[in-house]
């Protein structure tokens, strides 16, 4: 690929900063990498509260906060032709050559891709999540996705399982779908400079405490592990509707000194929480690509995770212990992880993760 053609890319999604999450991070870091390579990147998203208009972020990243009100879970109201004028204005003014849409759940993305194809621009779509086929919401969304992706130039998925899921949902030919996994900033996620003391084992959990991320599994697993291993401590970071259940569990089994609840952890402090542990526990029920376990591996933690979605593909077998999403199976996996923990060297693990190109 020797051409030095400069592209002008428009990233479109409903999900961008100040909202925080995997998709937002992905768009931001991808834009920064493209800017470093010399291309020009513009991001289009909807207005967040008072933040509307045009802003410039690091590296000259131009962000259009289009003054549309979100109506459901950070999505703009889907009007089929309402966004046409603003999308056309942005495309012509910035002399865009390529439009990149993110996340199937984002209505703004679908509409912008449709308008861009109408005007003949090249279009790429990235799908970040797995969806089902059976419930009403999924059926509706898959139909919209088939419509949008009927004419897309290429599509990108974050794991092979996600590729199978997207191909089945949208009816795309598999050759059009590229599997490009998410990446982690290894310079930011370095392990601690000195090893932690060996007489106590600390298990870290950082996730949104919702049903989808398996908070109910945590409620069953933590008391059992604390009962079997007296020298194990838990650190639980994150907030959500299921936090109350975890607090109740803590009270019921009197684990106040063994389970520490940190509440919502800002992204800048995630590394300091991670390096205070030996094992990272991920109990989610569905994941297309779990970036959290990659961050944990980069910090030198051994990972224990549920075998769902794209998780088995993320790390080599010696860096992760997989379990079925069942409490007893997860306790067995934690037991195995504790037994192989002495063989793990965080610096070696970090080096291997940073060697993934």
């Amino acid at each position: 690929m020797g051409d030095q053609e400069i592209h002008r890319v428009l990233m479109v999604s409903d999900f961008f900063y100040p909202n925080f999450g995997g998709v937002e991070n992905h768009i931001y870091y991808l834009s920064q990498c493209l800017l470093k390579l010399g291309h020009k990147v513009v991001v289009m998203t909807h207005a967040y509260g008072n933040r509307s208009g045009v802003r410039y972020m690091t590296g000259g990243l131009k962000v259009y906060y289009v003054p549309w009100r979100p109506f459901f879970l950070q999505n703009t109201l889907p009007t089929f032709y309402g966004t046409l004028s603003i999308v056309r204005t942005i495309l012509i003014r910035e002399r865009i050559s390529l439009v990149h849409g993110h996340q199937a759940f984002s209505t703004l993305c679908h509409e912008a891709l449709m308008h861009a194809r109408t005007m003949g621009y090249k279009v790429v779509f990235t799908d970040h999540s797995l969806y089902g086929f059976a419930d009403v919401g999924s059926i509706h969304m898959n139909k919209v996705l088939q419509f949008t992706l009927a004419d897309v130039s290429q599509a990108i998925c974050v794991s092979h399982t996600s590729k199978e899921n997207t191909v089945l949902r949208s009816g795309l030919p598999p050759e059009k779908v590229f599997v490009i996994p998410n990446a982690v900033d290894t310079a930011m996620f370095k392990p601690a400079s000195e090893r932690l003391n060996g007489n106590e084992i600390v298990i870290v959990v950082i996730s949104r405490l919702v049903y989808r991320k398996g908070a109910d599994l945590l409620v069953e697993v933590i008391p059992e592990v604390c009962r079997l291993y007296p020298n194990v401590r838990f650190i639980v970071g994150g907030d959500g509707p299921k936090r109350v259940r975890l607090e109740e569990m803590r009270e019921k089994h009197s684990l106040q000194d063994r389970v520490e609840m940190l509440g919502a952890v800002p992204h800048a402090r995630v590394r300091s929480v991670l390096i205070s542990g030996h094992i990272f526990l991920n109990s989610s029920l569905t994941e297309a690509f779990c970036i959290a376990i990659l961050e944990a591996a980069s910090c030198g933690l051994l990972t224990v995770s549920t075998r769902v979605g794209g998780v088995p593909e993320v790390l080599p077998d010696d860096m992760i212990v997989l379990a079925e999403p069942d409490p007893s199976d997860m306790v067995q996996a934690i037991r195995k992880a504790i037994s192989i923990l002495p063989n793990i060297d965080p610096q070696v693990m970090h080096f291997r993760v940073s060697a993934f190109p």
Partner: protein, 315 residues
């Protein structure tokens, strides 16, 4: 690690790798692995679709193959209940036209109560233990209705008859639509299923409809008789038919068939057009709908695979 091996291969067979990327894989090219780490797998593009693509997909695991006769037999409770409701509406219209007077209504009531009890006794042994308990309950219920019937006499005096018919018909349609055809809302003691929200709504709709009709009648005894009749049927007919079905399927089929014939005969005597509509409805439910269901069943495409959200089976 795979990455180290790939590095060595690339340096040693550089020219071979460059020209044979899209040809049959030579022995030097490592196998494609379904992993997301390690970057681009050498010799394979990012959009490479391996033969193992979609091999974990499972199709139509929970789909039941349906048989026409079985589906038709399963649709019998629906048509049976339709006939029961038609009979109730028949009795209502005869009473409103004063074709049936209150004494014959009372005789029908007592007859229904007795025969219902008999059926329950014959088909379910556990009820015979608490006979006194049930007798007490029935007498409380009946006397309560008798005491309250003067209230209903003036309940809808200020509302016009057209509104009453319209509301009654819509409530009955709602009742039929939301009814729980598989069991009974009022279950025998020891039944497994709890009543669902829609079955409670349908029961309430039918009770309100019978109260509206009862309030149109001239005297207290009329009101008492018609209310007792309607409530007996709507509250206990599902239980009785459920007991018959549980006891013997053949008896259930014969009972339904007889009920349908009797209903059609009575409706025919009342009004020809309604007879045609009822007949058409029964044929639709018993014959057309099962055939239609089986025809469109072959388009069912249920997809399961590793991308599904895990189902938690916690207490």
């Amino acid at each position: 690690m795979n990455f180290a091996i790939a590095d060595n291969l690339q340096t040693s067979s550089g020219i071979v790798m460059d020209t044979s990327i899209n040809e049959i894989p030579s022995i030097s090219r490592p196998k494609w692995r379904k992993v997301a780490y390690g970057g681009m797998q050498p010799g394979f593009d990012d959009n490479n679709t391996h033969d193992s693509f979609l091999e974990d997909m499972v199709m139509n695991t929970n789909v039941v193959k349906r048989d026409m006769v079985k589906v038709m037999q399963d649709s019998v409770p629906i048509s049976q209940y339709l006939c029961i409701v038609a009979l109730v509406v028949l009795v209502w219209s005869y009473t409103l036209r004063t074709t049936l007077n209150e004494n014959s209504l009372l005789i029908i009531d007592v007859g229904l109560l007795g025969s219902g009890f008999l059926v329950l006794l014959l088909t379910e042994e556990m009820l015979s233990l608490n006979l006194l308990h049930y007798f007490l309950n029935i007498s409380f219920f009946t006397s309560g209705l008798y005491v309250l019937s003067p209230i209903y006499q003036t309940l809808t005096r200020s509302i016009s008859s057209d509104s009453i018919w319209a509301v009654t018909v819509s409530l009955l349609v709602l009742h039929l639509f939301l009814h729980d055809y598989s069991g009974s809302t009022i279950s025998a003691p020891g039944a497994l299923k709890n009543p669902t929200l829609t079955s409670c709504i349908s029961l309430n709709a039918s009770v309100v409809a019978s109260v509206f009709i009862a309030s149109r009648l001239p005297s207290r005894v009329h009101i008492f008789a018609i209310l007792l009749f309607s409530l007996q049927v709507f509250l206990f007919a599902p239980l009785v038919t459920y007991c018959i079905k549980k006891y013997s399927f053949r008896l259930h089929l014969w009972f339904s068939f007889g009920l349908m014939v009797v209903t059609l005969a009575f409706v025919c005597m009342l009004h020809k057009l309604i007879f045609v509509v009822l007949l058409g409805l029964l044929v639709f439910v018993t014959v057309v709908c099962p055939y239609w269901l089986i025809r469109i069943q072959e388009y069912k495409f249920e997809i399961n695979g590793p991308w599904d959200e895990a189902k938690l089976v916690l207490i």
